[in-house]
Structures are given as C-alpha cells and as structure tokens.
C-alpha cells in the first residue's frame, strides 16, 4: 500500500480536521461524517490561516480567519480566489490513515 502513514482514524474526530506533517509539508486531514477522509494544505492560501481548525460540511471547509471556503475535493476557493492544494487521504481496513501528496 502506498502513501505516507500519518496515524489512525481515531486520531481525527468525526466532522473535524487535524494538521499533520507529511514529508515535510503541513497537511490538514478531515474526517467526514461518512468516515471518508479529505486532505488539503494546512495553511490557507489567503493569509496562512489554520485550515485544520475550520468548520466543514460535506463540500467545503471554511477558514477560521477570514471565512474563505475551500472545496474539500478540488481545493477550489468558493469565490474563485487562489485555491488550496488538495491531497488524497485514505483509511485502511484497520484504521491506518495514509496520505498521498497531491499535484
């Protein structure tokens, strides 16, 4: 199995994000209500806000500093601003969480 192991599913509460360092890069990983995972760069492209601390729904995460919204799948900003870089996060059957860095 590929990707960097960053921990286990239980590390991330449902509906929230946590920040991890993956290959020297800071990544925010989110656990959705259906237990699937999403991942973006941890720093908001706008003014460096902590995206792991943002409020999220099934589609976007909202940066806590200035309310920018980022698509959890593509990283696109809701109003067409600079996007956040998306990554791929998955959980194995045993709960091991892996991240493959995005483009």
């Amino acid at each position: 199995m590929s990707g960097h192991v960053i921990g286990v599913l239980a590390d991330i509460p449902i509906g929230e994000g946590r920040a991890f360092v993956v290959d020297g890069r800071q990544i925010a990983v989110y656990r959705m209500r259906d237990n699937s995972l999403r991942a973006l760069d941890a720093a908001c492209p706008h003014r460096g806000g902590p995206l792991a601390d943002g409020l999220l729904d099934a589609g976007i995460v909202v940066c806590p500093l200035h309310g920018r919204g980022y698509d959890l799948g593509t990283g696109a900003e809701s109003d067409g601003g600079p996007p956040a870089c998306p990554h791929t996060a998955t959980a194995d059957a045993d709960g091991t969480v892996r991240v493959v860095l995005g483009p």
Partner: protein, 824 residues
C-alpha cells in the same frame, strides 16, 4: 453546429479588456458562432485590477475583486488556459504558440495583452538581467500585490517611486500596513497627468497630512542594496532615503512584443482601425491598453468597455457597421483616501475659454471647470466630488450649461441627490467600474429582477469599488416603483436552513432538535449540512435548550471549541473574567505570573475593562487556564461579554448609585450566556456617564433620587448609536429583572449577528417597552423563565477544558511570520 466545425476564436489576455470582450461576444450569441479559447498568464479568473489598491490597503479581500471566477468560463463553454502565456504568434499559419509547448490554430484572434509596469533605468535596481533586487516591486498584478503584502509584514520603511495614481495608492496601502512611506516623484506636481499645479499642491498636502513624506521634482537615480536586499535609494542631487522595500510605480507600457514579433504595426501600441481590428490583418483584433486607436492609448477602464462593445458588434456580425470613435476620458477615484475626479482639459487653452476656479486649501478642496462655446470641456474636482455625476454627463454629451457657472461646482438649491434617480438620463453610466448604465439597471428590473442584490448580481453594478451602491439601490427602487422584493433567503436565520427564525425555533421545539446535526437532518430538504450555518445554529440551540443543548465540536467555530479568540497568526487571546472591571492584587499577581511563565508577547487592557493576554499558543491554553485559576471572560463568543462600570458611590464624590456593585451583580448573573451577537453592558454611577453607558447594548445610569435609567440598543463600534431609554426604575433588583427580560427578548427575536443597535430600531423601542416593561403581550413570565434556565445552565468553560486530555488543543499550524510585537 458541431463544435469541430465552428470557427475558433482565440483571446490572448484574460485581464479586464479580454474578459470584457468575451462577455460582449457571448451577449451577442458568440458561443453559438465560435469555439472560444482564452489564454491568461495569471493563474486566476478575471479580476478587477482597479481594486488591487484596496487589497493592498486591506479594505478588500482578494475574493471580493473577482469579476469572473473560474466557474464562469466552464459554465460558458470557454476553454480557459489560466497560467499559460502565449509566446509567439504565427499569422500566416494562424497559430498561437504557448509557453506550455502547445500550439492552437485560430480563425479569429483578439489580442488583449494589456500593460506591464515600467521600470525606468535606475542603477542597482536589478539583481541580474531578469530579477529585481529583493524588496523591489512593481505594482500591476494580483501576484505583485500579494507579494507586497507578504513582504510588508517584515518591513518597516518603504519608498515608492512615482507619484501618480498607482504610486499614491501603493504608498497609502503600505502605510496602512504599518510602514513608514516616502513617495518620490520626478515631475513637480503629484498626479501631473490629471491635475494642474494648484490641485497637485493641495493633493500633496492631503497626502502629507496622512503621514506620507512626499518628494517632488526629485529623480531617483540609484538603488542601494546589501546582501541582495534593497537598503535605500539615491537621488540626482546626491541625497537619498533609506528603505527596506521599494515599489516602482513610474507608469505602464503596453505589452506589444507578441504583436510586434508577428509583424503587426506597432507604434505606441498595436494600431487598430475603427472596428478595433489591426490594420494589417482582418482576422486579428486588439482591445484595451495594448491597442492604439487614432494615436490614442487609453489606460482607463471606461474606454475599454466602449472598445469591447464595438469589437463584439463587428466580430459577431451583430452590427458590422459599429465604429469606435475614441473616448472622452473622465475619471473619478479615491487616491490615498482623497476623492479626485478629472475629465478633459486641466486648464484653458484658448483666449476665450472660460475658466472657473475654487480653492480652499485648508480643507483640501479644489475645483475647476473649463467651458468652451458653452460646453463643458474639462473639470477637476479634489476633496469634494458631489457634483461629479452631472459634470460627467455634461462633459460626455455636451449638455447645455446653467448661466451661473458656480452652480456647476456647488449645490445652490438644486434638487438633492435622491431626486436624481428619476432625472438621470437613461444612458448615464451608474457603475463606472463595470460600465453599467441606468438603462441596463432599469431593463434588468423590468426583466423580472426585483431585488437590489439580484440586479447587482445580474448586471455587476456596484460590484467594483462599491461607491455607486446607494445610487444603484435608488435606481432599482425607482424602477420597481417602490416594489422591491426581498430575497427569500434573506429572511432565513442562517443561509443553509430554509426558515425564518420564529418558524425555525418552533420546529426545533416541536421536533425536539437538540443538536446542530439533527437540525440539518430534519429541516434541510436533502439533509445537506452547511458550514456557514453551523455557528448560528449552535448559538440558537444553546440559547433555547440551555443544559439540554447537545454541543457537537464539529458545529462550533474554533473560538468556541477552544474557548479563546483566534488571532491572525493562529495564536489565541485569553481574557479572564474581571467582574465589573474590579480586580484584586491576587488576580493581578496570577496574571503577571502567567504572562512571565508563558512568554506572553502582549498584555493589553481591553475596552471592556479587562486584561487581555495575547499570543498564547493553542497547546498552552489548558495550562494557562489552570495557572490563572480564573473564570473565562467570554471575550471570544457571540455572547454576553462584560459590564463596564465607573467607580460609583463608594469612592467618587459625585456618585449617586453603587455602579460597581450593580455591574458585578449583572455580570455574575448573565456571564457567558450565548446570543445572536455579542452583548456589552455598562453601569455608570451618575449622569456624567464615565462608563459610557449610553452607547452599550444595555446601559444603566444612576440618577438623583436613587433611581436608575436603563438604555438599550446603543453602540460605539463600527456604528455609533445612542441607546433608547427603556425604563427608569427604583432599585438594582428591578434593573436586573428588566435587563434579563430585555436580553432574552433580544436573544429570541434578533437575526443571527444582528446587534441590538440594529434590532432595537428595527423592532421599535415602543414595542420593546410594551413587551419588556409593561408586559402587554403576557410574555414577561416566559422570558424571565427562559433567561433563568440559561443562567442555571452556565458552566465555566475553562474549568471543564482544564480536564480535557483529548488532542483538542494540539497545534494546527505554525502560521505566517508576523512582525514581532515589541515587548514594552
């Protein structure tokens, strides 16, 4: 028609001109006629370059300046190559070569490459052939702007070369970011392209009053650097200024390399005919700042709109006879906070030109008009631009002028602005940023769009600098005959749940929804959660259910999750409760110990008479609270905040009532209760009002005779409002009862984030008094009981959080480097 058979239109340049031309082409059915590809070398959608100075100054977010986000291109079937630069044009093969190695054949081509910053030859400015010295910037693109913002965080002293419009805007923006700024301008007059000498002198004074140093008649001849970074500039006379940041705003130059390489005729810019077509090639058009028409190159936005219309008319065949005859340029803008409007001539040119001039330098006001053959041919307004709408109209269309010329400069009994909506001519341009006329707005209303926000979204009027919003509103209201519709979603309590507050509360109560997730599941048609609605719902449920509220961390804003206020660098501020602003030596000692132990970078007294510890790391929060041993002051929530008090009767020789005791009692009772917005209170011991009770959400004033006045709906923040007198009562106990009842009535009825200063006038003080004081509707007992439930449900958040051993307080990021707060 099959896409493969449609002719291909290629647009080089995704700036304001290129995107506008595409919009005009789409409006004429161009998507049916052409397969459209747009190259833009910036990796974004199309944005309003005019507003970059607002972004630099921090008054606009970058999201606010986009004209067409990336989705717009996809929605219209346009192939946008964002971040791809066209590098070579082969007109004979009709191919555009791009820097990503691709080549694209075209049937029609639009060149809209715009301009770039001009860097005058100044010794030492370049690190090598291509790279500017570290700390040196042009000011042209969003990337320039964002790099400057980043750089400014760690710089203290900037020099701006160029005292034209852009240079002054750059200077003001950097100054607002805390830098000391010098502007160096080699002509003798600031903004000499638009202003005459007296106007330039007055502008200079206004700019200097802002704290910006201005050097005019000073040529910058050298840039000094050390270790690859800029350290200063030198002037022609041998003097100079030290700086750690340098912005060059000495003009722009059209981007014509591509056109020149393709053999198109280029003089000052790409030469075009009256159809905006290049004079060498019928398939190739040019528009905007890279185009030269009858010897003129325009650097303003209004001519570009006119050019785009003609180009689209001709290219699509909608009107093959459409011709561009050049533009009369008029500008109205704010330069470094000073209103400036300029059109046509700066000064009389012929012996019989009339010239009317008014100057009031002390107020920064200067106005001139130039009249020839009874027509307005020029005007300059500085500091007071109230007459600009009529002057622009008169200038554009040669309107007859009143014989008393002075009435062109001042309102002398002429109709007020409000009447203007009806009288404004149909083709008058209302939004100068997006080129929207009164007729367009009226047509949009007649086409069925009945709300102001709907008209603004459909026409983009008011979406530029925003200065025309009130006029747009007036015109929409006038055109709708007063029947302006409300946006249905505008009545919803939160954007993602389709109910107004009373109905939402009824459903929550009936269905017994105790958590945010249950509200989404039960009340949103497809059960879809909405991140933007969570905070408002959590607040409402907390208010309604008290200790029965099921608090889900993933429905909480970070401040409410960690019980502290997030700061721009991701650290937090901690404000312990100091009831009524009265503290003790023991509390101060503990605060001081914590500040030392955790290297707190700043200790700040707040406006609410408390002590703020700023710059606390997230992971230190539980330990800080444990060491403080004080309750939370709730300085981070949409909740009851604090009660400001004066010394009152115990010590003050004027005091009429014990304001500190009452303030402490209020704060003890209402501590931490959530609401639609924050609630700030005050109690003052006499009408001298040292605690500023008249401008609080609820303020209490002791008056002669042992009585207390209660004021509600006051504010002294972003809005200033004197509170309305709710009641005058005889005892502190009555104050506490009425305060609780008023706050509960507000909590149950105000919109999310609606402060009392908006809610009280919206509801009406008479209605509020009838409910809260006179119990007209029999609600008082219920309000009192609901408030009591909230009071009983209070739990001190820091005590609980100290025991929290989850990873809730784990760091989320070391964030951007900030200017270090000086330790004082």
């Amino acid at each position: 028609m099959d896409a493969r058979n449609k002719p291909r239109l290629v647009v080089i340049g995704n700036g304001m001109a290129g995107a506008r031309a595409v919009e005009e082409i789409l409006a004429r059915g161009g998507a049916e006629q052409f397969t459209i590809t747009v190259f833009g070398d910036e990796p974004y959608g199309n944005y309003n370059r005019i507003l970059l100075s607002n972004v630099l100054a921090g008054s606009d977010d970058t999201s606010e300046i986009y004209l067409n986000p990336l989705d717009w291109y996809a929605d219209n079937g346009i192939d946008l190559r964002a971040g791809v630069r066209a590098v070579r044009l082969d007109r004979f093969a009709r191919i555009v070569h791009a820097d990503d190695g691709t080549a694209l054949r075209y049937d029609r081509l639009i060149i809209a490459t715009g301009s770039r910053s001009f860097f005058p030859p100044i010794e030492g400015m370049w690190a090598d052939d291509k790279t500017l010295l570290r700390g040196v910037f042009g000011f042209r693109s969003l990337d320039d702007c964002l790099s400057m913002i980043d750089e400014s965080a760690t710089r203290t002293r900037a020099v701006v070369v160029g005292g034209g419009l852009l240079g002054l805007e750059a200077a003001r923006g950097l100054q607002q970011r805390g830098l000391t700024v010098d502007v160096v301008h080699s002509p003798a007059t600031l903004m000499n392209a638009q202003l005459d000498d007296p106007a330039g002198a007055i502008l200079r004074r206004s700019v200097e009053d802002l704290g910006i140093t201005v050097h005019t008649g000073t040529a910058t001849t050298g840039v000094r650097g050390a270790d690859g970074c800029v350290t200063g500039v030198t002037f022609a006379d041998g003097t100079g200024v030290d700086c750690d940041m340098l912005v060059v705003a000495a003009g722009i130059r059209p981007n014509v390399g591509l056109a020149r390489g393709a053999g198109l005729t280029v003089q000052r810019a790409i030469v075009v005919d009256d159809h905006m077509r290049t004079i060498d090639d019928d398939r190739v058009y040019a528009v905007g700042e890279c185009a030269e028409h009858r010897g003129q190159v325009y650097g303003l936005v209004a001519p570009l709109w006119e050019q785009a219309v003609v180009l689209a008319d001709h290219l699509t065949g909608a009107n093959p006879a459409a011709r561009y005859h050049g533009s009369r340029t008029a500008t109205k803008l704010k330069v470094a906070g000073v209103d400036v409007a300029a059109m046509g001539l700066k000064a009389p040119e012929r012996p019989d030109d009339e010239f009317v001039q008014f100057s009031e330098p002390r107020l920064g006001i200067y106005k001139t008009i130039v009249i020839r053959d009874d027509k307005l041919v020029g005007a300059t307004l500085l500091g007071d631009v109230r007459k600009v709408a009529f002057l622009m109209q008169a200038f554009d269309r040669g309107l007859p002028l009143p014989p008393e010329r002075v009435s062109l400069l001042f309102d002398l009994g002429t109709p007020p602005v409000e009447v203007g909506a009806a009288e404004l001519s149909d083709d008058a341009q209302v939004c100068n940023c997006n080129g929207v006329s009164k007729a367009t707005l009226v047509a949009c209303v007649q086409g069925g769009q009945q709300s102001v926000s709907g008209v603004m979204a459909a026409t983009r009027a008011g979406k530029g600098c925003g200065s025309c919003k009130s006029l747009v509103t007036q015109i929409v209201e006038w055109a709708a005959g007063g029947a302006v519709a409300d946006d249905p979603a505008g009545t919803w309590y939160v954007p993602g749940v389709p109910y107004p507050k009373p109905e939402l509360m009824r459903l929550i109560r009936e269905l017994e929804l105790h958590s945010v997730s249950s509200v989404f599941a039960a009340l949103v048609p497809d059960g879809r959660e909405d991140a933007h609605s969570k905070m408002g719902l959590a607040s409402l449920l907390h208010m309604m259910w008290g200790d029965e509220f099921v608090d889900e961390p993933d429905a909480r804003f970070i401040n409410d999750r960690v019980h502290a206020n997030i700061q721009r660098d991701g650290t937090f501020s901690v404000v312990p409760q100091i009831q009524g602003g009265v503290t003790t030596a023991d509390q101060l000692r503990r605060i001081a110990d914590v500040a030392e132990r955790y290297d707190v970078p700043m200790i700040k007294l707040t406006g609410g008479q408390r002590i703020d510890l700023l710059g606390i790391r997230k992971e230190d929060l539980p330990a800080v609270w444990a060491d403080l041993g004080m309750p939370s002051g709730y300085a981070y929530g949409k909740s009851f905040r604090t009660v400001k008090t004066c010394v009152g009767s115990e010590f003050c020789r004027y005091g009429l009532g014990d304001s500190t005791a009452l303030g402490i009692a209020l704060e003890q009772r209402f501590q931490g209760i959530p609401g639609p917005a924050k609630m700030k209170l005050a109690v003052t011991g006499c009408p001298r009002n040292c605690a500023e009770a008249l401008c609080k959400d609820l303020g209490v004033v002791a008056i002669e005779g042992g009585r207390w006045e209660i004021y509600v709906g006051g504010a002294a923040g972003a809005h200033i409002r004197k509170g309305d007198l709710l009641a005058t009562v005889g005892t502190p106990a009555e104050v506490i009862t009425l305060a609780g009842r008023f706050l509960q009535y507000y909590r149950e009825n105000a919109n999310w984030l609606e402060r009392t200063y908006a809610w009280v006038p919206r509801t009406g003080i008479d209605t509020i008094r009838a409910v809260v004081v006179d119990d007209r509707d029999g609600l008082a007992a219920g309000l009192d009981a609901a408030m009591q439930k909230s009071v009983d449900a209070y739990r001190e958040p820091w005590t609980d959080a100290r025991q929290d051993d989850s990873d809730r307080y784990r760091t989320a990021l070391p964030l951007i480097a900030l200017p270090r707060v000086p330790v004082r």
